[in-house]
């Protein structure tokens, strides 16, 4: 679905990506994680054709994103962190925008709007930031595009909406669709995003499914400060230490704590070079 090869990109003279490689097959909800300024939004914009690479190759849905071919754009929905919605009713917005998305499903849209408890009689410009986001998310999910890009989708959502967000997004995934969710709110995305891509200083330092991760490492909560060669990372948390250990034999029966895993990858990227296989 997405293939980036030896991709170079820079803002002015400062290079951000050098020889970036990424392969994203369809049918998953990818979590794109990284610290501020790591290049997450830039990567999403390169994928969507909003920025042009300096060199390298890129294929998104079979198109070169730089060309911004309408057939590619009508199969991508990108919900950015900051957006604008015109002063009009939902019905008018749909009338003006649905014709650009041939796979749009009106019934699914009505269902999502209802799940997010949005008032259809209200003008979209009168919605709060969170409601606007839920409206755009409903539109994006109902558009049935093969690629859905969400940049910080849970920012501005209240707690029940975050739960609803996870439920709705998970239910909308099909084998033909791929969702890429860029976020700092790792806790909001637990049990939703898988595989995980971690971008650090313009380099993808981690790209693996949680299943692969749990086969080779374990994240545990321990009372005492952990010791031993198998400890990749530990941090003090209330009640003890959150620890990431090498666990190729499956000694520890634990799930993967995304936040701890992320911190571990950032703290010692060499331990995870190329992702956990």
């Amino acid at each position: 679905m997405i293939t980036l090869n030896n991709l170079h990109f820079s803002y002015g003279k400062k290079p951000l990506f050098t020889d970036l490689k990424l392969d994203v097959p369809s049918g998953n909800i990818y979590g794109l994680l990284g610290m501020n300024g790591a290049g997450k939004t830039t990567l999403l914009k390169l994928i969507a054709g909003q920025l042009f690479r300096k060199s390298g190759e890129a294929q998104v849905l079979g198109f070169d994103p730089v060309k911004r071919h309408p057939a590619m754009l009508s199969d991508i929905f990108y919900l950015p962190e900051e957006f604008y919605l015109p002063n009009m009713s939902i019905a008018t917005y749909l009338k003006l925008n649905v014709p650009f998305y041939p796979k749009f499903d009106q019934n699914a849209f009505d269902r999502y709007i209802s799940e997010f408890a949005l008032d259809t009689s209200q003008k979209i410009s009168d919605f709060s930031y969170g409601q606007k986001k839920k409206f755009l998310l409903s539109f994006g999910l109902a558009s049935n595009t093969s690629l859905l890009i969400l940049d910080e989708p849970t920012n501005g959502l209240d707690i029940p909406s975050k739960t609803q967000f996870r439920r709705t997004v998970a239910s909308a995934l099909t084998e033909e669709r791929t969702f890429i969710i860029s976020t700092h709110q790792v806790r909001d995305m637990e049990n939703l995003i898988d595989p995980i891509i971690i971008l650090h200083d313009g380099v993808i330092i981690f790209n693996a499914s949680l299943e692969d991760v749990s086969e080779s490492i374990a994240t545990t909560l321990e009372l005492d400060e952990p010791q031993g060669a198998d400890v990749i990372y530990s941090e003090k948390v209330p009640g003890g230490y959150s620890v990431v250990r090498k666990d190729p034999d499956g000694t520890f029966d634990s799930g993967v704590d995304l936040e701890t895993l992320f911190n571990a990858v950032i703290a010692s990227p060499n331990s995870f070079k190329g992702g956990v296989k």
Binding site: Q50, R68, P70, L96, F100
Partner: protein, 261 residues
């Protein structure tokens, strides 16, 4: 074609509020002075239609150029709106053509009908209330259509300015046109000085002085002048607008997220 029509529909819906305000202000600006003058018995008893024609010309050129100038700044270079502009599933040329149709064809025609309708209403009111009226705007007047033709050409320059500059597009376009005009004038003056050297007096020592009698009597000089006129008209009527449109197209195609201001 379908995408262009969809874009036009989208543009009209999104601009609807602004256009209604614009039309209301224009109508008010014509109506209120008329009513005031009528109330004090100062309405002109007879007047040619230059009043409405002049108003149409001002709104066509000044209003049209400002509208064209801000159209791209509001979308293509706007930090908040650029995302929707870039992700819209249409070709760059469709975005350009839709804007050109909207600003170069729909705007002048709607404005013409609007000013005509306003003149009919206002002059009707004048006739009923004050027993005095002046002619409506004559839509068949050749001067009206010459204005529209010139507007078609000149708006393409502002379209180029709109796509080239990222902010303050109108002012920057006007300043650029002035600078280009000055530079072209200097170049043309130097060329004229060389080509018409036999007819010109000392140019750099006491100004340009052309011996008109010799100049007009000389067939070669007159032929050259006619040739320049043909070249000038060809550039203006046939080349200027296509050049501006082609450059604008490349600007639209090459705009990136980092161009937003």
């Amino acid at each position: 074609m379908r995408n262009i029509l969809l874009l036009l529909k989208k543009q009209v819906y999104e601009d609807k509020k602004g256009l209604i305000i614009y039309a209301s202000v224009v109508f008010g600006l014509i109506l209120i002075p008329n009513l005031v003058m009528g109330f004090f018995g100062k309405l002109p008893s007879s007047q040619d239609d230059m009043g409405y024609l002049g108003l149409f010309g001002n709104l066509l050129f000044a209003g049209g150029f400002i509208m064209v100038s801000i159209t791209y700044a509001q979308e293509m270079y706007s930090k908040v709106k650029q995302h929707a502009w870039l992700m819209l599933p249409v070709h760059a040329h469709e975005k350009l053509i839709a804007k050109v149709i909207y600003h170069a064809i729909i705007y002048p025609l709607v404005l013409l009908i609007f000013i005509f309708a306003s003149s009919v209403i206002i002059e009707g009111l004048n006739a009923v209330l004050f027993s005095s009226s002046t002619p409506f705007l004559d839509m068949t007047d050749l001067a009206v259509w010459k204005m529209i033709l010139n507007y078609l050409i000149l708006q393409s320059v502002f379209l180029l300015g709109a796509t080239y500059f990222k902010s303050a597009n109108f002012v920057k376009t006007v300043l650029s046109v002035m600078v280009v005009s000055i530079v072209l004038s200097i170049i043309l003056a130097l060329i004229a000085r060389v080509v018409y050297a036999p007819y010109a007096q000392v140019m750099f020592h006491g100004g340009i002085s052309i011996d008109e009698t010799t100049f007009i009597m000389n067939t070669n000089a007159m032929n050259l002048l006619e040739t320049y006129e043909v070249i000038g008209k060809t550039i203006y009527w046939a080349l200027l607008a296509p050049f501006c449109l082609v450059v604008s197209y490349f600007r639209i195609r090459e705009v990136e997220a980092k161009d937003a201001v």
